[in-house]
């Protein structure tokens, strides 16, 4: 057992070469997942609401988007954006940015499904009552349906955030120095303590994800009390 290797390199696992070099390690993983979930929220909201529309030209683009993204491994998407960006933009995008785009597009599809399920789960009477009180469809969505539905969705968003945090490890394959790649680099440099290094980062990921999962369970219990019922 050579835990001293882990202890010596722990700052590198936490924030990479930060003060001297670029930010990396756990800090970059967290930044990627927070940036990813923020971007994905707006895309997912749009996709979820579009999928509920009755007009085919609004509904089907979102159906196609959601079904394609959910049917393809994230690793594939990361490669796609990594190879596509130079052709589309005419210049190479930094690895972290192109991974972030892949995370946003990927998670957006899953959030779209959460939004759709959340809106459907509200009792029909809510929409009917708001239309009957003279709100337009858009106003009813904005002021009556979404405030309730989004609040009910918070636990699912937290779960999605947890799986995105786990998925940021895939940015490793295109060379982003987040937690997993930082660990691989340390392992390649020292070559004598792979078990200790990988166990350490497993525990680091676990602490973050478990705390968030526990939080979402607690929220779920709390939310159940305030739900409007049909």
């Amino acid at each position: 057992m050579q835990w001293d290797i882990v202890i010596d390199n722990f700052p590198y696992l936490l924030w990479g070469a930060y003060p001297e070099g670029p930010l990396g390690g756990l800090a970059l993983s967290i930044l990627l997942s927070i940036g990813g979930i923020f971007g994905a929220f707006w895309i997912g909201l749009a996709a979820g609401l579009m999928r509920l529309s009755k007009r085919w030209y609004i509904k089907y683009p979102s159906v196609v988007y959601i079904e394609i993204i959910r049917g393809v491994p994230l690793l594939m998407l990361i490669f796609w954006f990594y190879f596509l960006a130079p052709i589309l933009l005419g210049k190479t995008l930094p690895e972290a940015e192109s991974a972030l785009v892949a995370f946003i597009v990927f998670t957006g599809a899953y959030i779209g499904e959460i939004v759709r399920a959340g809106v459907i789960a509200l009792p029909k009477g809510q929409m009917e009552a708001s239309r009957a009180s003279g709100l337009t469809h858009l106003q009813a969505m904005r002021y009556v349906i979404l405030p309730q539905a989004l609040r009910n969705m918070i636990p699912s968003f937290v779960n999605q955030f947890v799986s995105l945090t786990k998925d940021t490890s895939l940015a490793y394959v295109i060379g982003v120095v987040e937690l997993t790649r930082a660990a691989v680099q340390i392992n390649n440099r020292t070559l004598s303590a792979p078990m200790e290094i990988y166990l350490t980062i497993l525990v680091m990921y676990f602490v973050i994800c478990y705390v968030l999962t526990a939080l979402s369970r607690k929220l779920e219990k709390k939310m159940a009390r305030y739900q409007a019922r049909g």
């Binding site: 049917g71 594939m76 796609w80 895939l170 392992n187 990988y198 497993l202």
Partner: protein, 247 residues
């Protein structure tokens, strides 16, 4: 097909990139893709079989009244569900050899070690999810069904066998199928340790021919076909059988 072709023509015009499908879809590169699909399906099938057994065992442990078993199964599911699969793969591939005895290692190195490490990681990860699905399925059957069957004179095992499990099974099947689908998608991560599955082959063709677009399009379409077939079958199953579940 014509629509697809014209889409590609538009793409070529916009991107100033000429597709060359023949290069990727013939000769040895086609063989690579086919063997990649084979390895993907093989590693998924082996892992799924192990994961089903392991997951059922873990779920049963969780439902017993023995405290140590409950703690073990709870920490197993929590730990493996809350850590990234990629790191688990690295752990089993690079790190686990210091945990295993010498003779087991010798045996493993004689086999295809990458494949074995991939199977271990995938099946343990999937087992944690499957255990939770099974537990949720059994818990979703209202308690009074068990009480009613006991009151009718069935023993506990009979009540489980004839009343609870047939219903729970119907509820468990769809999430189980989507776990299997996730497993197929997750198997793509095994490329990082050198298992020659579909994504690995696409990457390989990209670096041999610089035809990354074509290689990734084809492998994406293959993954998509697998997923769409499975999700259609889930929808069919839900329409056909789920109405019979009582609440």
């Amino acid at each position: 097909m014509a629509a697809l072709r014209s889409l590609f023509y538009c793409f070529e015009a916009v991107l100033n990139y000429t597709f060359d499908w023949n290069k990727v879809l013939s000769g040895e590169y086609l063989d690579w893709i086919i063997s990649g699909v084979g390895v993907t399906l093989q590693i998924s099938a082996v892992s799924l079989a192990i994961a089903l057994l392991l997951g059922t065992a873990i779920a049963v442990m969780r439902m017993t009244k023995v405290k140590p078993l409950i703690w073990f199964s709870a920490s197993f599911t929590e730990f493996f569900r809350n850590t990234p699969l990629l790191v688990q793969i690295f752990f089993w591939y690079f790190g686990a050899d210091s945990l295993l005895p010498r003779f087991a290692l010798d045996w493993l190195y004689e086999q295809d070690f990458e494949f074995c490490a991939g199977v271990i990681a995938l099946s343990v990860y999937t087992a944690a999810f499957i255990a939770e699905e099974i537990r949720a399925g059994v818990n979703s059957i209202p308690k009074n069904q068990l009480e009613a069957s006991r009151a009718c004179g069935l023993t506990f095992v009979q009540a489980m066998r004839y009343v609870i499990l047939p219903q729970a099974f119907r509820i468990i099947v769809p999430p189980m199928i989507s776990q299997a689908l996730n497993l197929v998608k997750n198997s793509s991560l095994c490329m990082t340790i050198g298992v020659a599955e579909l994504t690995y082959m696409a990457r390989q063709i990209e670096s041999y021919t610089f035809r990354g677009f074509e290689a990734f399009t084809i492998s994406t379409l293959i993954y998509l076909c697998i997923s769409l077939i499975v999700s259609f079958s889930i929808n069919f199953y839900n329409k056909r059988y789920m109405r019979a579940v009582s609440y």
